[in-house]
Amino acid sequence: MKKNLILLVDDERDFVNTLAERMAIRGLETRVAYDGESALQMIQDETFAAMVLDLRMPGIDGLEVLREVGRTHPQISVIVLTGHGSEKDREKCESLGAFAYLNKPVNIKDLASLLKKAQEAGGK
């Protein structure tokens, strides 16, 4: 059960909490982090299968988190979900091993199905 945990990282609290709630309705168990620092802390404490990550955050930003996750926890599938995406960001994230790259606002069905795929991929 624990191994299917999903970490949601975004400094927009309203967004990330609501998203967690909607994932719960869809039967996905999630944890929430409001900045990069706590996100990195949480992946030390628990085992996650997937992560939804915003790029622009105070302190340690999304790219930094992505790089760190790729280094220390490569088994976690990271889905980048950002409102600031440029073509360059997309390329960079893909080169850093992101599982997917989505722009806000996102269709919940797309995200949920993608997360399920990510869980399966990240669980191994």
Binding site: E12, F15, T18, E21, I25, G83, S86, K104, P105
Partner: protein, 584 residues
Amino acid sequence: MVKDGFFSRFRPRFWDYKLGAQPYQPLFNYARIWILSVALLSAVCLVPLSVLFVVDFQLSQQAIESEVTLRTVRLASNTRRTLTYFIDERQAALRFIVEESKFEALVDPVHIKEMLRNLKVGFGGFVDVGVLLPSGQQVAYSGPFDLRGRDYGDKDWFKKTMQNGVYISDVFLGYRNSPHMIIAVKGRRPDNKSFILRGTLDIKRLIDIITGMELSENCDAFVINRQGVLQTPSRFYGDILERIDMPVPEYSEHTRAFETTDSKGNKILVGYAYIADSPYILEIVRMQDEVMNIWDSLRADLIWFFLGSFLVIFLVICGISTYMVNKVFYADQTRLRTLHRMEHTNRLASIGRLAAGVAHEINNPLAVINEKAGLIKDIFLFRHEYKEDSRVMEPIDVIISSVERCGAITKQLLGFARHLEVEVQHVHLGELVKEVLNFLKKESEYRNIEQVVDITEDVPCIYTDRGKLQQVFINLINNAYQAVDREGRIVVRARPDEDPDWVDIRVEDTGCGIAPEDIKKIFEPFFSTKKKSGGTGLGLSITYGLVKKLGGMVYVHSEPGQGTVFNIKLPIDMEGDVNEGSSG
């Protein structure tokens, strides 16, 4: 009208360039610079030329006049010498006879006849000689007439000879009724009684001397006595022994010349000389017309040369000034165009940055709205009592779909901003055109304009700057939109070109078309037929510049009232063609 048309053909473009009509000011007032340049160059070139001309004109006039005067004086002087010599020689001959011969021998009829013959042979001109006693009686005579014994005692010449010892008479007719002159010399016999030897000279020799001068047609030479009676015939002023109607010039030892007007009103130059020891005055008259003729032709030459060089210099000055000012003007125009283009590019770039910023910032709250609305929807879906209630579900769906639309708009804005960056990439023409047409979708729906995209499958992807190409399409399609009325048609076509390395793109509209006289100017910066409705006149010139940068070419065909076709030819690989394109 003619004048207007004539001048407008030569009027340089800067002449009508108005200050203050543009957002950027030109560096100079060109018309004023031109006028200043022409004025200054004219002042330093034409003023000295004019001064030189005037001075030379006067000097030449004086030189010619004094030359003519000098020539006349010289002629008079030479002729006087000849005349003086002629008279002196004969006078000396008589003097010699008086001194050398004995009186007895002189009165001998045989001897005197011999003497006349010798005089005729030796000197010529003598007609007769006679010897007179102090009483006036002629005691010896040789000549064609029988004058021996005639008494001259009461004659003026006889008295003067007795008094002065020598006498030279005026020309007169005398008893013989043919013009002649007398030279008389007083001699002294050994018994201290005096006698007079008189020779008569034919005036013909005198006339021969004058006519021998071979004067030009406007010249006259003659001899008068001190009463102004002609001693030789004159060409203009009467025959021998007539009186000339000109005053007798005042006495002068040397030859002189003066200007005057004769009784016929001709301006004349008179050179004269008093013949010494005689009553004769030599006069040479030169019509001023002749003098003037020489001066006139020279003056005409001078004036033509002056006017010609004046005109040539002035034209060259105007030409050089126009050329230089034009150069500066066009350089300045290029500067202004660059400024405009830079401003436009900057404006586009900042619009792009602004759009990107707004899009980014809006995406986050949009995401929140999306999730909150989604959550409500989720909750309602799980609670079956609301599931079927359209009053609840419909607003939520509308919120979610609106958020999706907003998301699409921000995505487009970001895409637009991103393409402003310079980068060469593979571009699919069909997608690019659809993306541009999407911006104008609403407008086309309002105005019922039909958009047709006709891009065949065989049009290859081209390797070019996507942002610039997008800008080209935005400008051309916008232009087409402004040209067409309601229910018009805009067609974007693309085909592979005959040259496999190029594609052929056409943007066609069924709009108002372009007037033939404007068609050459439409790519010029600031040319706009829509100035009143806010056109900058930059759109098509920027388009032109962009297509050139992409290594391509733009053509335009238009039928007023039928529509316009913009034809762009683009290389498939911009970088492969960049050198060729920029050199062309």
